[in-house]
């Protein structure tokens, strides 16, 4: 197999750091919090959007440079209690 390029490796690390950050601060719940695995890509996109919304960033759903910068910003170590409720509050529901 072709070895992963530097860009690919950097992207994979960013994705793993993002999952860790999202789990640590309450944006991802369930087993992903412990295993750092995801049940679906949708979960990750939803969690990233929720983080971006909380950080006042455009909701792209991908760990872009602004999100990366937000994750490096100094902050409190407690979980963001609104992270999960925010998802339900903002997502569209079928009548």
């Amino acid at each position: 197999a072709r070895p992963a390029s530097r860009t690919e490796r950097k992207y994979r690390k960013l994705q793993s750091d993002t999952v860790k950050y999202l789990a640590q601060f309450g944006y991802l719940s369930g087993p992903s919090q412990e295993t750092q695995n995801l049940r679906s890509k949708e979960d990750l996109v939803r969690a990233i959007k929720s983080l971006q919304r909380a950080g006042g960033l455009p909701e792209t759903g991908v760990p872009d440079s602004r999100t990366e910068a937000l994750m490096k910003k100094p902050r409190c170590g407690n979980m963001d209690d609104f992270a999960q409720t925010g998802i339900d509050h903002f997502s569209r529901k079928k009548r």
């Binding site: 087993p31 909380a54 100094p74 902050r75 409190c76």
Partner: protein
């Protein structure tokens, strides 16, 4: 604003400095901390008194990396501090990362007053706010000039404790009596305390005793209480107890109990008691393994951990977890070391009470936690205990349930 999980049942609270940061003179740290507390007293009935004993509601600690809780700090930057919601033990405590450059303003480092005021918000029962202008916003924003409590935070705190109307009456402080019950699901049934489970030196009643440790070894459940253990088949029928020393050859004779046990994938069995561990091949201690055991620090468990409460394999990822108090560690795939980034807080396992007595994965792959005379079945996919728990352990062991119904019939 978002309320946290608990509040204090009174408004006259105490605080204590455990230590100070070397970044500034102690007097300055004291002044900043007191000012940070004062932020929450404006138009609220809250008062804070400094005490020097260990019973203070809010303990203020400066620490680096691991500091005896499930939230180790991460060096300079990123996480600056954390605080626990009101409650006994660590509840209300505020911890500050001493790898940060603590300062008196936002331009020359991290402003201790701002961070402390935010953390005390948690210590009083407030969660993070989504409003960037709020003090309880999770990210550090810095501030210049004279600080005043933003409206969102004022609404939050007065929602929890009311405004500063002094004729409000609050219950007198009673030691150790708070609303908060960590991780204990609502509606926990109240059972009478077991009556002398150990009669003299004889085996205790496994249906009515606190479990020290249990695990599945080659399809059989091994249940440890004091100096005794029981082997249970798939039907969970409790049979005759055996003294630990008469079966597990090589454990020290003066060992009073097994705290935790698990079987490794290579079929070796690891026992924990106090801050030592032993590895067995079948029922014999590994050759050349010291009889006095090895220190648990060999797994990279911090030296201040004096006991492992439980060890269990989690069916979701087939990894072994060690639990001590409100902290837990995940072991690496070889079960040789605990992984980087641990300990973590037991709050991750929602609804599991701390400290647990024992935990294990049963033959069906379900993770079960035990505390006192109760047990909790865990819902892996939702990372919380199953609804309908806790249940009494006597309902878990078939024999106990039968004995219980017989007893009930006799009583009737």
């Amino acid at each position: 604003f978002i309320p946290g999980t608990s509040t204090w049942p009174r408004t006259n609270l105490t605080f204590r400095f455990v230590n100070y940061t070397p970044d500034m003179p102690q007097a300055q740290t004291r002044k900043l901390i007191v000012d940070a507390l004062k932020v929450w007293t404006v138009s609220t009935p809250l008062t804070f008194t400094e005490v020097t004993d260990t019973m203070a509601d809010i303990m203020i600690l400066f620490a680096k990396k691991y500091h005896s809780d499930g939230h180790p700090f991460d060096g300079t930057g990123s996480v600056l501090a954390h605080a626990f919601f009101p409650g006994p033990g660590k509840g209300g405590d505020a911890h500050f990362d001493d790898d940060e450059n603590w300062s008196t303003n936002s331009s020359g480092g991290i402003d201790l007053l701002l961070v402390a005021a935010h953390e005390f918000g948690h210590a009083l029962g407030l969660g993070h706010s989504e409003k960037p202008s709020a003090l309880m916003y999770p990210w550090y924003m810095g501030f210049e000039g004279e600080f005043e409590l933003p409206h969102d935070d004022w609404q939050g705190i007065t929602n929890l404790y009311g405004t500063g109307i002094k004729d409000r009456t609050f219950p007198e402080r009673e030691k150790g009596k708070v609303k908060y019950k960590p991780n204990v699901p609502d509606g926990k049934p109240v059972y009478p305390e077991p009556t002398s489970p150990t009669a003299g030196d004889g085996p205790p009643d496994p249906c009515n005793s606190h479990i020290d440790a249990l695990t599945v070894i080659r399809t059989e459940i091994f249940l440890f209480i004091g100096k005794w253990f029981w082997r249970l088949g798939p039907q969970k029928l409790i049979n005759k107890p055996v003294e630990i020393h008469k079966f597990w050859y090589g454990l020290p004779k003066d060992l009073e109990r097994i705290d935790a046990v698990f079987e490794r994938p290579d079929n070796k069995i690891v026992f924990f008691s106090g801050d030592r561990f032993w590895v067995f091949n079948a029922n014999h201690l590994l050759s050349r393994f010291p009889v006095e055991g090895r220190p648990i620090t060999e797994f990279n468990i911090p030296a201040d951990v004096k006991k492992i409460d439980a060890a269990f394999q989690w069916s979701y990822n087939k990894r072994t977890y060690l639990v001590s108090g409100d902290m837990y560690w995940k072991m690496d795939e070889n079960n040789s070391f605990v992984e980087y980034d641990y300990p973590r807080d037991m709050g991750t396992w929602k609804g599991v009470p701390v400290p647990v007595d024992a935990a294990f994965m049963d033959q069906s792959g379900t993770t079960i936690f035990f505390q006192g005379l109760d047990y909790w079945q865990f819902y892996d996919m939702k990372m919380r205990v199953q609804r309908g728990y806790p249940r009494r352990i006597s309902h878990y062991w078939s024999q106990c349930a039968e004995n219980l119904s017989e007893r009930e019939e006799n009583l009737a």
